[in-house]
């Protein structure tokens, strides 16, 4: 894999990575991708391959989410949760200007 591809991935993943490490990653990726690429071969050889397009109901899938309703009192957990936040002001998370 080329260094510029790794740079693009690091940008997409929002991670600062040193040039040096990116070069190492570019080298690591080829054998890893060659190894995981074996999966394509699996589809060809297995007698268990089921290529039919299954619909969600074929897997007995159903909605497990609860209704979206308020289950706690306003502000009940605010202080506890904000105690972990790096920067806060008046009960809000503070971030850099974005516009």
């Amino acid at each position: 894999m080329k260094l510029e591809d790794i740079k693009k991935l690091a940008d997409l993943a929002r991670i600062d990575i040193s040039e040096n490490e990116m070069e190492g990653l570019a080298k690591d990726f080829d054998p890893i991708l060659a190894y995981v690429g074996q999966v394509q071969e699996a589809l060809k050889i297995s007698s268990m391959n089921d290529s039919s397009d299954k619909k969600p109901e074929d897997y007995f899938l159903h909605n497990v989410m609860r209704e979206d309703e308020v289950t706690n009192n306003r502000g009940e957990y605010t202080d506890k949760i904000l105690a972990d936040a790096p920067d806060i002001q008046d009960g809000f998370l503070k971030v850099k200007q974005i516009l």
């Binding site: 929002r14 990653l25 589809l43 268990m48 391959n49 089921d50 936040a85 920067d87």
Partner: protein, 472 residues
């Protein structure tokens, strides 16, 4: 002096009940060993400051008659399991000072039963590794041979057990992270059926694969701990509802499969194979029929795993942004804050896996990797379900080689990934699987036998495991 080496949950419970010693006495014995040994082993990252308070609460339960088997049992928690008000860092710099704001389901259950949490144990960062060497807080050493790794990612929990610094422990698995360190440290480690133990309050790695797992010195302790923490949890959307958990203990066929062609792969140690053949003989002597089974797709399990896992990692770890909690670095603008916080907060292996997952999920590669892996995962599941029509379980060695030296595989990702080759089928197919000690080398390094049973049939693992335990 309490004989910690041979102590089991039941023995401790009987002694506590009879008043031979108090919970505080027992906890102090463990704290003494931790003081002596943790400096070298680095199994615990922190001893909780309220340990003795927890012990007092457990003592109350003995006094008022509400004590159960887990009451007063000193245990270790892997550093990715939330315990309200205590730090859970996933052994990452990005969560160094993160204090849990709630209890994980498993901790809540154990708290209600009066278990005593001694502290949090070291692990590979975000559970990414097989040797506990990727932790941001130093390596953990194997108490059996401190020049070797304890396995991983739950290496701290396993090492704490092996050094008698804890009676039982909890780890977590995404692919072998409880079974493999159990094998490397001469312990029993269980990967329960996917959905049996709630993932609520467990720091996520690969959500379709993650599962909490108990570690113990023997099957019985693991079974007691497993029973103490299982149950339906509405806060985990993949938790198995109670009506599907009804006790369906059926007689077993006493037929065990060996996937022969899977054992012929590259890189499997001949000593490990020899020990495995001996284990097969022992099971035969215990009245089990050992038959060859053909599972042509499972050799692709690890490749499938190394696509699905990084894909899920890149999504799960997107939440660490330096804004809501965790490490936050100064930057010129919001994007800069994200990039610097994530760049400095994540270690090398986490960065590698996030990038790999980003690649696998990116436009143009999604079909070739992720979609194909999902299809092959279904094939593997079907193949295994088919096999279980004929046998109760299948067996392999837990790990293809013996505990290796510190640093030996750290710079060779593929060779490190191969640790998980025999673990992957159970995680991909949602099955339950256990590692049991199966003897030692001349130098005293432990071997492990892995037994894998169908969905919700932990009872089969415990039955075969107890029969096997008597013979080792």
């Amino acid at each position: 002096m309490i004989d910690l080496k041979n102590l089991t949950i039941e023995k401790a419970h009987e002694s506590l009940k009879r008043g031979e010693y108090t919970v505080t006495d027992l906890v102090n014995e463990y704290l003494k060993v931790i003081n002596e040994k943790n400096g070298e082993i680095n199994a615990f990252l922190e001893i909780y400051d309220d340990v003795l308070l927890q012990a007092k609460k457990a003592e109350e339960m003995f006094k008022n008659g509400t004590a159960t088997l887990m009451t007063g049992i000193p245990m270790a928690l892997k550093d990715n399991i939330l315990f309200d008000g205590h730090i859970a860092s996933a052994s990452s710099k990005i969560l160094e000072n993160y204090k849990a704001t709630y209890d994980s389901f498993v901790v809540k259950k154990l708290k209600d039963q009066g278990a005593v949490f001694l502290g949090r144990t070291n692990m590979d960062e975000f559970a990414m590794g097989s040797s506990t060497e990727t932790s941001a807080y130093g390596v953990t050493r194997n108490p059996i041979d401190p020049t070797r790794v304890p396995g991983g990612s739950s290496g701290g929990s396993a090492a704490a057990m092996a050094a008698n610094m804890s009676l039982v422990a909890l780890g977590t698995e995404t692919c072998g992270s409880v079974r493999q360190p159990a094998s490397f440290c001469g312990l029993v480690g269980l990967k329960p059926t996917y959905g049996v133990l709630s993932r609520s309050g467990i720091i996520a790695m690969g959500s379709s694969l993650d599962q909490v797992g108990p570690l113990g010195k023997n099957i019985e302790d693991v079974e007691i701990l497993f029973n103490a923490i299982n149950g339906y949890d509405p806060k985990d959307s993949t938790s198995i509802p109670d009506d599907m958990r009804v006790n369906k203990i059926k007689p077993i066929k006493k037929r065990i499969g060996v996937p022969r062609e899977f054992l012929k792969g590259e890189g499997i140690d001949s000593e490990v194979l020899k020990n495995f053949e001996e284990s097969c003989e022992k099971l035969k002597n215990a009245g089990y029929e050992i038959v060859d089974v053909s599972l042509p797709s499972i050799k692709y399990s690890l490749a499938v795993y190394y696509i699905i896992m990084p894909a899920e990692v890149s999504s799960n770890l997107a939440r660490f942004d330096g804004i809501r909690y965790g490490l936050s670095e100064e930057g010129n603008n919001l994007l800069d804050v994200y990039k610097k916080s994530r760049g400095n907060g994540f270690g090398k292996e986490a960065r590698r896996r996030i990038l790999l997952g980003t690649y696998i999920l990116s436009h143009g590669y999604y079909d070739a990797y992720y979609n194909t892996a999902v299809k092959v995962r279904e094939m593997i599941k079907r193949e295994l379900l088919n096999m279980y029509l004929d046998v109760d379980a299948f067996i392999t060695p837990t790990v293809p080689f013996l505990p290796f030296k510190l640093g030996e595989k750290l710079n060779d990702p593929i060779s490190m990934y191969l640790c998980d080759i025999f673990s992957a089928p159970a995680n991909l197919a949602d099955l339950c699987s256990i590692s049991i000690p199966s003897g030692k080398t001349k130098e005293g390094l432990p071997f492990g036998l892995q037994i894998t049973a169908p969905f919700l049939r932990e009872d089969i693992l415990f039955t075969i495991g107890k029969d096997f335990e008597k013979l080792v």
